[in-house]
Amino acid sequence: MTAEEVIDLVESRGAKEAAKEVDVVTTGTFGAMCSSGAFLNFGHSEPPIKMQKVWLNGVPAYTGVAAVDAYIGATELKEEDNMHYGGAHVIEDLISGEVLSLKATSYGTDCYPRREIETSITLDMMNQAYLFNPRNAYQNYAVATNSTDRILFTYMGKLLPNYGNATFSSAGQLSPLMNDPKCRTIGIGTRIFLGGGVGYVSWEGTQFSTTAPVKNGVPTRPSRSIAVIGDLKKMSTEYIRALTLHGYGISLAVGLGVPIPILDEEMMESVAIRDEDIFAPVFDYSVQSRSRKVLTEVSYAELRSGHIELFGKDVKTSSLSSYYKARQIANELKKSIEKGTFLLSEPVQALPSEKSSKPLEIRSKEGVKI
C-alpha cells in the first residue's frame, strides 16, 4: 500500500492489525532539490586531454577530478545567459536523449597533450553518468511568506507583498522521511526509486539534523535528509525536471520514493501519519538572516486546503512540490514491488541517531580554539 492508502486502514483496523496485513508501505516526493548533480565520464579523446575546464551546452561543470570525469551541478548557470538555462537543464536534456555540445580546455601535459576540444555528446556515448545528490528528500520544510511591500523572488518561489501568499514544499503524509521519522528502516544502502530508475541512499544528507522539536512523532522543522545515487541512463524526464525559479536561479525537480518495510506496530503507526498531524513553521522570507523567527506553525492539511490564516488574514497557499507526482511515484513503486521488479534492501549502516547542523561563523585563524 502507499503511505496515503494505509491511513484509512490503520484508522479502521488499528496499527496492530494493519501491521499483520501489510508488509511494505511506499512513499514518494517530487520537488525542487537544489542539492543535486551528476558525475559524468566522457571517455578519452585522441590525443587525450586532461580537462581543466569543461562546459556542457555552455554550462560549466566541475572537473577538478581525474582527466575526463566531471560533476555537473543542478544549479550551475550557463555563462552570460541570465538564469534561463543551467545544470538542471543539461541533466534533463541528457535524459531526453538530446545531443549536447561539449567543450573543454586544458594546459597540456606530457601524458595529456591536447589543450582544447569541442565535440558533441549524448548520454549513451558516456561511460558513466549517475546522479549524486548530497541532500534530497528533506524531512519537513519551511513555509515561506513575505511581510514587505515588494515582491520577493526566492527559492520558495514568488512571494507577494503584505503576506499576499505563502508557499510550502513537502509531500507531507507521502514524504519518505515523514513516514519513517527516526530512520529506523532508511539507512546507507537502502534501495529507492530515483528519477524513474533505481537508486540508493549513499549517506546521510548534508545538514542532517535530529534536534528539531517533534509533534505527533514528526519533526516540525527541516531535519533529516538523505544523499542519494542512481544511474542517470535509467531515468526519465517524467521524474527529473529542470526548474527555473525566476529571480533566484535554476533547480532540479527530483522524483524520489522509498519503500518502508513494516517491521512492527510502531512502524505501522509512523506510516499512518496524516497531513493533519504534520506541522511546518511559517517564516517571513524578507528577513535576510539564517535565524528567522517562526511566525506560527500550520499543518499540511491546512496548507493543502489552499489558504491559511496569518495574523487574522486569509492567505492563499501554493505548493512548490507536486503531490500529484508524489502519488504517482508511490504508486509506481508499489507496482514494481508487487511485480517483483523492485527488491527491498536492508541498510548496511544506520543514519546518525543524533546530530545537529552547525552554522558558519566569520572567524580569524587565531580565533579558532582547537
Binding site: 517530487f30 520537488g31 525542487a32 518561489g157 514568488k158 507577494l160 499576499g164 501568499n165 505563502a166 508557499t167 525536471r241 529542470a242 526548474l243 527555473t244 525559479l245 525566476h246 529571480g247 533547480s251 525537480a253 489552499g306 492563499k316 497557499t317 501554493s318 505548493s319 512548490l320 512540490s321 507536486s322 503531490y323 500529484y324 507526482k325 502519488r327
Partner: protein
C-alpha cells in the same frame, strides 16, 4: 449575460475613434479594461466585455468594421500539459483564480475562461509550462 475577453489592436489611424464609448452606448455592453498599451504599432487593449451574447457579437462586428483587429483572449495564454508537474505554484499567484487544484487527483487545471492574461503565472511557473503571447 455572458463575459468574454478580447485583445483589440488599433492602428495609429483609428486611435482617435471613441470606440469604447460607442460599445457602451450603442450596444449596451459593460466593458472592463484589463490591460492597455500603446506602442509604435498602435494601441492594444485587453478588455472584458459583458452583455447579451447577440449584443457582444454585434459590438465585435462594429469594432471589426471600424478597422480594429479583435481576437478572443484565451488564445494567448496556454499551459503546456507535458511541462506542467501540477505543483500548484500558480494557484496562490493568480488574481483571477484561473487555476484549480483538483481535489481527487491533485492535478492542476487551467480554466482559460477565467484568465485575464495578466501574466503573473508566467515567471512563477518553474518548469516553464505557462506561455503568454499578447504584445
Amino acid at each position: 449575460m455572458t463575459k468574454r475577453k478580447f485583445l483589440m489592436s488599433f492602428t495609429p489611424s483609428i486611435v482617435n475613434e471613441p470606440i469604447t464609448f460607442r460599445m457602451v452606448k450603442d450596444f449596451d455592453l459593460m466593458l472592463n479594461i484589463l490591460r492597455a498599451g500603446v506602442d509604435e504599432r498602435g494601441g492594444k487593449l485587453v478588455i472584458e466585455i459583458e452583455g447579451k451574447p447577440s449584443q457582444i457579437k454585434k459590438g465585435v462586428g462594429y469594432l471589426e468594421s471600424s478597422g480594429v483587429e479583435v481576437k478572443e483572449l484565451n488564445e494567448y495564454v496556454s499551459k503546456d500539459e507535458d511541462r506542467c508537474t501540477s505543483c500548484g505554484a500558480c494557484i496562490s499567484i493568480c488574481p483571477a483564480e484561473a487555476f484549480e487544484m483538483l481535489k481527487e487527483t491533485y492535478k492542476v487545471e487551467f480554466h482559460k475562461d477565467r484568465c485575464i492574461a495578466c501574466g503573473l503565472c508566467i515567471d512563477v511557473c518553474s518548469p516553464n509550462a505557462m506561455k503568454l503571447e499578447i504584445w
